[in-house]
């Protein structure tokens, strides 16, 4: 498992290779790359600055990677989240999961992305022609996270 916060870009192919190199038990690798878009909600975006809570961000992501590993039989997980100033087209985040079979790889990647969107301590500030503005959290993202609470963790076990 590999969690990194960095200003620099990442290389999807290198990260996938790292998960599979020299082993023959991996049958499935799912990746998700989040990319800075040039417009949101109709407005043009010149750039975006990602602020994070150093120390907490790493620890929180690590904790959720461990939870993903407890839920699904994963053979490898990589999460890389960038911070700092990004322009449209720049990569923001990479989640890559390796497993024997596709269902686990997909489920773990979606779980981690839903988590990162709503619980990892990152905040996006967009630069628009009319000025800068912090991105508001989306209720749809909270709803997406909630679906993981129900089937795998009965309320009594919390």
């Amino acid at each position: 498992m590999r969690v990194r916060l960095q200003r620099e870009d990442f290389d999807v192919a290198a990260e996938v290779a790292r998960l599979t190199r020299g082993r023959t038990d991996v049958g499935a690798v799912a990746t998700f790359t989040g990319i800075c878009r040039g417009s949101e909600a109709g407005g043009e975006i010149a750039a975006m600055t990602l602020e994070h809570y150093p120390g907490m961000a790493e620890a929180e992501i690590m904790r959720h990677v461990e939870e993903a590993q407890a839920r699904w039989p994963l053979l490898g997980v990589t999460v890389i989240h960038r911070y700092g100033r990004l322009v449209p087209g720049d990569n923001i985040v990479l989640v890559a999961t390796a497993a024997a079979h596709r269902q686990e790889a997909f489920a773990a990647a979606e779980f981690l992305m839903d988590y990162l969107k709503t619980r990892a301590p990152f905040w996006k500030r967009e630069e628009r022609a009319e000025g800068g503005a912090w991105v508001a959290a989306k209720e749809a993202d909270d709803a997406a996270l909630e679906r993981w609470a129900r089937p795998a963790r009965p309320a009594a076990a919390e």
Binding site: G34, L50, E51, H52, Y53, G55, M56, A57, A59, E60, H81, I92, V93, M113, L116, K117, T118, R119, A120, P121, F122, W123, K124, R125, W134, V135, A136, A137, D141
Partner: protein
């Protein structure tokens, strides 16, 4: 106690962090937000709607009723928008 602010909470307060001695009556996260809101205009603005502000004690998410006892570091920030 070390107090950290992020995103627009940081911008409104005007600093990323500070070291404060809390009065004895401030025992929970909610009470701390109330106390901070009384420290001046910039704090009042930052904490004018405490319901939308999230908190972490020692780098773990907590609810407003969480106790401050034993905490080394508490952080206040808006809902997260990573990913």
């Amino acid at each position: 106690m070390k107090i950290l602010y992020f995103a627009w909470v940081r911008e409104r307060v005007g600093k990323p962090e500070e070291e404060l001695d809390l009065p004895a009556g401030v025992r929970t996260v909610a009470e701390l937000m109330g106390w901070l809101a009384g420290r001046g205009e910039e704090y009042a603005h930052a904490f004018e709607n405490p319901k939308v502000i999230r908190a972490a004690i020692d780098r773990t998410h907590v609810r407003p009723d969480a106790a401050l006892a034993g905490a080394r570091e508490i952080a206040f920030f808006p809902p997260m928008t990573g990913g």
